[in-house]
């Protein structure tokens, strides 16, 4: 536990330094830069790129969560069960359609910038959240659901007070998968001029500057690892609270 905490703090410090004080790492990236070329990306501040990158991911994931969970709630009601295969097909389609293709198709409609990236991330993020929410809502402990009905909770109260809280850890797992995928996928948004950390990577690829690629990649990677880790610990804490995993085992 203690070692884990130290490792986390070190990673957070490293990430902050990479974003806020990239020049400190010039010595490390220099061997990868072309001779005489720039070592540290300076066309835009890495902080503003990071914030915009995280903002895009957050907005897309939030929208995907709202839609996917709403759909999952509808298809797990008796009246909506018939729509489950259809919803699954739709969310599957979002996942199988490559984000690059979505970008290409969305640009004519939405123009260059953040719009197409948001659409691509949103579509790509639906499936894991939907699948997990359906699983979570349809595998609740039967005696608890029966008791909730038996003591007089109406449909809405059962959903809000019992079903969603109990399914929450499973839904959160889906959100975590979706967020981590989106963090990586958002980089390609810079091909259509969205402001993301992909800009650094793409600049590096275009100018054969591996130092840029490493810089961008490292920052995105660290964000993904730390956010993943934070969500996992949240899930574990919630699951323990629900008695799904007993203490001291």
């Amino acid at each position: 536990m203690k070692a884990g905490l130290i490792l986390r703090l070190v990673l957070i410090a490293l990430l902050l330094a990479l974003v806020l004080r990239p020049e400190w790492f010039a010595f490390a990236f220099a061997p990868f830069a072309p001779e005489g070329g720039p070592v540290i990306y300076q066309r835009a501040s890495l902080l503003s790129l990071s914030l915009s990158h995280l903002g895009l991911v957050a907005a897309a994931s939030l929208a995907a969560t709202v839609l996917a969970v709403t759909l999952a709630i509808l298809v797990t009601r008796p009246a909506g069960a018939a729509f489950r295969p259809l919803s699954r097909t739709i969310t599957n389609l979002g996942q199988t359609f490559p984000p690059v293709a979505v970008l290409a198709l969305a640009v004519p409609a939405l123009g260059f910038g953040a719009g197409p990236t948001l659409v691509a991330l949103f579509l790509y993020g639906l499936l894991p959240i939907f699948e997990n929410a359906v699983t979570g809502l349809s595998t609740l402990p039967p005696s608890t659901v029966e008791a909730a009905r038996g003591i007089g909770l109406n449909r809405w109260q059962r959903l809000v007070r019992v079903e969603l809280p109990l399914a929450f850890p499973v839904i959160l797992t889906g959100v975590r998968l979706s967020v981590v995928i989106a963090l990586g996928t958002a980089t390609i948004g810079s091909t259509v001029a969205a402001k993301t950390l992909g800009e650094v990577i793409i600049a590096g690829l275009l100018t054969n500057n591996t130092a840029y690629v490493l810089q961008g990649g490292l920052i995105v990677g660290l964000f993904a690892v730390l956010i993943y880790d934070a969500l996992v610990s949240l899930e574990v804490r919630l699951a323990r609270r629900l008695g799904l995993e007993r203490k001291g085992r």
Binding site: E146, G150, I151, L242
Partner: protein, 311 residues
């Protein structure tokens, strides 16, 4: 008073419950016994409308259950099931408070009621109030489940195999607790079980279901003495009938004057237990304590006579 009037449930044209009528007096326990598929659980679930009856009516204190929205009706009827069904994300106190909260009781009133119930179930409130169900033993979870069902002082408590998941020792303790609490609160309870022993032990009345029909509804002694059908006789357990009958009668009923030696037994001891003690110790009589007289005795002959009394 609970009146069940000609109630039926059809599934695909086949009757799971076939025109059952019975009346349950306020303040009594009715044990509903039957094998799996006899319709006993369906009958119970039609009372709080978890299952809608195909025909017939249930009236609670004269008021038809169909006159209320189902979830409003259920808030007035306690419901306890096998495997307790507690909300794992709520503390013990919040679980017990579930129905009073739905009914909009004040915070103070709810807190007082929660502590009162925990005390009643011999669970120290300060120790258990803030625990989560996963931190309790099976017996404690079951007690909290029953406490939750009783929290709003319901007109009626429905229990579906409430002790089914407990081991025999904890189960018999839970049964004694339930009987004690029911006497204290004067609750009306309908309890579904597949265990005739449990129904006889707990019930003021026993209702036996077979293939969707109510085949006999009578006091436990009557069910043992005069089973209405072969099925009831089989449920009562053939050769064990005399012992079952003796288990219903306290020694106080046949205590007589006379000399004996040894330590006096409690007058509420059942004749079955007294018989076992006589046989085990090889004695013809046992001393019985009497609250307002010197100890009397119960003899093996008197027990034998009582067992043959049904003829």
């Amino acid at each position: 008073m609970i009146e069940i009037d000609q109630i039926s449930k059809l599934y695909a044209g086949k009757a799971a419950v076939d025109s059952v009528s019975m009346t349950v007096e306020t303040g009594t326990i009715t044990g509903i016994v039957g094998t799996s598929g006899s319709g006993k659980t369906t009958l119970l679930r039609m009372i709080n409308r978890l299952v809608e009856p195909s025909s017939g009516e249930v009236r609670i204190n004269g008021e038809p259950t169909s006159s209320l929205a189902p979830h409003i009706l259920r808030r007035r009827i306690g419901y306890a099931i096998q495997g307790h069904g507690l909300f794992p994300h709520y503390t013990v106190a919040r679980n017990i408070a579930a129905v009073p909260r739905l009914l909009g009781w004040s915070k103070d009133k709810i807190a007082a009621r929660v502590d009162e119930l925990l005390d009643l179930f011999s669970m120290e409130p300060s120790q258990f109030r803030d625990r989560y169900p996963a931190e309790l033993s099976g017996g404690q979870q079951q007690r909290v489940g029953v406490a939750r069902a009783l929290a709003s002082r319901p007109d009626l408590l429905l229990m579906d195999e409430p002790f089914g998941a407990l081991d025999p020792i904890i189960r018999s303790r839970a049964q004694d607790d339930l009987r004690r609490i029911q006497r204290t609160l004067g609750s009306t309870i309908m309890l579904v079980t597949h265990d005739m022993e449990e129904a006889i032990h707990l019930g003021d009345q026993v209702a036996v279901m077979d293939a969707g029909r109510l085949v006999q509804h009578a006091a436990p002694a009557e069910i043992i003495r005069a089973p209405a059908t072969d099925f009831v006789a089989e449920m009562v357990g053939g050769v064990e009938r005399p012992l079952r009958l003796l288990s219903l009668i306290p020694v106080a009923d046949i205590t007589e004057d006379g000399p004996t030696d040894g330590e006096a037994i409690d007058p509420q001891t059942s004749l079955r237990d007294a018989l076992a003690m006589c046989l085990w110790a090889g004695r013809e009589a046992l001393p019985v304590a009497r609250p307002d007289a010197p100890p009397g005795r119960v003899t093996l002959d008197a027990i034998r006579a009582r067992a043959a009394d049904h003829q």
